[in-house]
């Protein structure tokens, strides 16, 4: 029983070890290793979750022989374990959903390197979730960035590489700000571990000295993480990045990578700086404003797209805006809503990307509106999956999107001076979502009469075979979405308890 304490550490190490091994084997073996690893991480995280649920408090785990102020640590509570579980599920389904395209998109002999990247990404995500040390956080943020860059550019056409360099430049700016931020934090507190740093910061706030640097530090860290996760003014790399990577990479990038940074940011807010100090520093208002702008501008951009994948990518600009809007509300409820929407968006976005694969592989690779007409009849599972994802994004009841919108609205009610803006932004953004997503859904369900005669019905010969794993992944993600939508009470309760354990 007490042995379960080791599982998070095992999962991080296992992921890295798999990565190192995968660099020396061929593509198939690397894929199998990766799938096994992700499954193992999934099981371990589930066990960790049950363990933390039994203990009811967050566990501190020494990485080495030395306790808090001296040696590295990881720390896991309910929310960390749940996030690890959730991320590994999404990772597994994304890999399953797109591996058939990994083979075609990547130069022969380099598939195993792609799986190395995925393993490293997994380990860095786990470390960012679990870590209790700022500098470890920085190092793994860098690993995450490099792995993401590799995933973008592993498709060896010019698009991938240009997208990769734009992504790289933007996120290096972000990590530069983050690095100088934690250096300054180390300077004024003298600690890199989160809890001692927090005590030092409370000391600073009480006796006022070094308070100005503290404000600058909060701003630097928030801005750095916002840039890395693609908040609105810094979103320009998102559409190309998500639009041109291989489908697995798109799903993972849009649904996990940016989320990892946001989780780290929330963790720093709660555990290092202290949420009240963050609120009093007014940086949240800026995040709120940019989030609201992103919600609307992202949707407006998405309406103007003709390429299905770029439309989905722009909609995730808007969704990131939702998350920052929730964080910016500066209340517990807002934070819960933000975390829940983070889960929602992870599930829905990967569902959309994966099902989009299923759609355009039956419409000879075209990804624009005209190309996708009638695709839903040629690949029914993908069509249904895409519709479910779109409806969830629109906020269809019983799907996860509805719950998160409800949570945002109720959270906004607690902040009278932000309530109206939030509600209006929610409504505008929802209507815009409805416009572009339902337009796409209608397109994939309607065709020109000529081909309609042959394909408009669920006729056998018209259904192109997509890979089994793709269908499996789509269905599993639909179920995940429904789960979030129907049994949200447990999840929300878990999130709020976990956030209490964060501090």
């Amino acid at each position: 029983m007490d042995f379960l304490r080791n599982l998070p550490f095992f999962s991080i190490m296992l992921a890295m070890f798999t990565g190192i091994i995968s660099s020396a084997v061929n593509g198939r073996t690397a894929r199998r290793l990766t799938l096994t690893m992700v499954t193992a991480v999934l099981v371990m995280s589930a066990l960790t979750l049950s363990y933390t649920e039994q203990i009811g408090e967050s566990v501190t785990y020494l990485m080495g022989h030395f306790p808090a102020p001296w040696g590295n640590e990881i720390r896991f509570g309910t929310l960390e374990a749940f996030l690890a579980l959730y991320f590994s599920i999404i990772m597994l389904l994304s890999v399953l959903g797109g591996w058939s395209h990994v083979i075609t998109d990547i130069e022969a002999g380099k598939e195993n390197l792609f799986y190395v990247l995925i393993d490293m990404m997994m380990s860095s995500l786990l470390a960012m979730i679990y870590t209790n040390d700022l500098f470890t956080g920085y190092v793994f943020v860098e690993i995450n960035t490099i792995a993401a860059c590799g995933m973008i550019m592993i498709r060896q056409n010019g698009h991938g590489i240009v997208a990769a360099i734009r992504y790289m430049v933007m996120s290096l700016i972000g990590s530069g700000l983050f690095l100088i931020g934690i250096s300054l934090l180390y300077d004024v507190t003298g600690h890199l571990l989160m809890v001692p740093a927090h005590n030092a910061i409370e000391q600073i706030v009480t006796d006022g000295i070094y308070y100005t640097p503290l404000l600058v530090i909060i701003v630097l860290i928030s801005v750095g993480m916002a840039i890395k996760s693609g908040l609105y003014p810094f979103h320009s790399w998102i559409p190309e990045t998500y639009g041109y990577a291989t489908p697995t990479a798109s799903a993972i990038l849009s649904s996990l990578v940016s989320k990892g940074y946001i989780i780290l940011l929330i963790k720093i807010f709660y555990r290092v700086i202290g949420f009240n100090i963050v609120i009093s520093s007014h940086v949240l208002n800026a995040l709120f404003a940019f989030g609201v702008i992103a919600m609307i501008m992202g949707s407006l951009h998405a309406i103007m797209q003709t390429d299905c994948r770029k439309m989905i990518a722009f909609s995730s600009v808007a969704q990131i805006g939702y998350i920052y809007m929730g964080i910016g509300l500066g209340t517990k409820a807002g934070m819960v809503a933000a975390v829940f929407h983070l889960l929602t968006h992870a599930a829905t976005k990967s569902l959309l990307f994966i099902s989009a694969v299923g759609l355009y592989e039956v419409s000879d690779g075209r990804t624009d509106y005209l190309g996708l007409r009638n695709a839903a009849y040629r690949n029914r599972v993908a069509g249904i999956a895409f519709s479910v994802g779109a409806l969830s994004m629109v906020g269809f009841p019983m799907l996860s999107g509805f719950i998160s919108k409800y949570l945002f609205a109720t959270a906004a009610l607690e902040k009278p001076h932000k309530m109206l803006i939030t509600l209006v932004a929610l409504i505008i953004s929802t209507v815009l979502n409805a416009i572009y997503f339902l337009r796409q859904v209608v397109t994939i369900y309607s065709g020109r009469p000529g081909e309609a005669a042959s394909t408009s019905h669920f006729i056998k010969e018209a259904i192109a075979e997509s890979t089994f794993s793709n269908r499996f992944a789509s269905i599993a993600l639909i179920l995940l979405n429904l789960f979030l939508g129907l049994f949200s009470e447990a999840v929300i309760d878990l999130i709020s308890r976990g956030l209490n354990l964060f501090a």
């Binding site: 550019m153 010019g158 590489i161 430049v169 290096l172 530069g176 180390y186």
Partner: protein
């Protein structure tokens, strides 16, 4: 408000580090030439290392290596920033290598180092 005297006497290293950081940041963000962007990245990281090492130094103390058996903490400078700098250097080396290889591939394809030109070319291809 802004006390120049303090800036250039007791905080000289930090000031220089911050100016360097700003230079690198602006290069990375504003310059259109990829190679200069990479230089900016390295300047930015170096500024952070300068800041950290400056933080580690204490007047009149030895480097943190055991010399003739003295284990009194007040005899040595602070070892932590040096370790952080070591780690940071490796990170920036890796990132620079990655960026340079990306630059090589882009130059092979577009025969220019100007990011704006590259992006415009690329969008033309994409629409074509």
């Amino acid at each position: 408000m802004l006390d120049i005297e303090v800036l250039f006497t007791s905080h000289l290293e930090e000031t220089v580090a911050m100016i360097l950081f700003g230079i690198g940041f602006s290069l990375l963000l504003l310059n259109r030439n990829l190679i200069k962007k990479i230089m900016g990245l390295n300047i930015m990281d170096t500024a952070v290392y300068l800041f950290l090492t400056a933080k580690g130094y204490i007047y009149g103390r030895m480097v943190p290596i055991l010399t003739d058996g003295i284990t009194d903490p007040n005899a040595y400078t602070n070892p932590i920033p040096d370790g952080l700098v070591l780690t940071g250097i490796v990170v920036s080396v890796s990132v620079s290598a990655l960026l340079l290889s990306l630059t090589i591939r882009l130059y092979d394809r577009y025969h220019t180092l100007d990011l704006d030109k590259i992006i415009m070319e690329w969008r033309k291809e994409e629409d074509a």
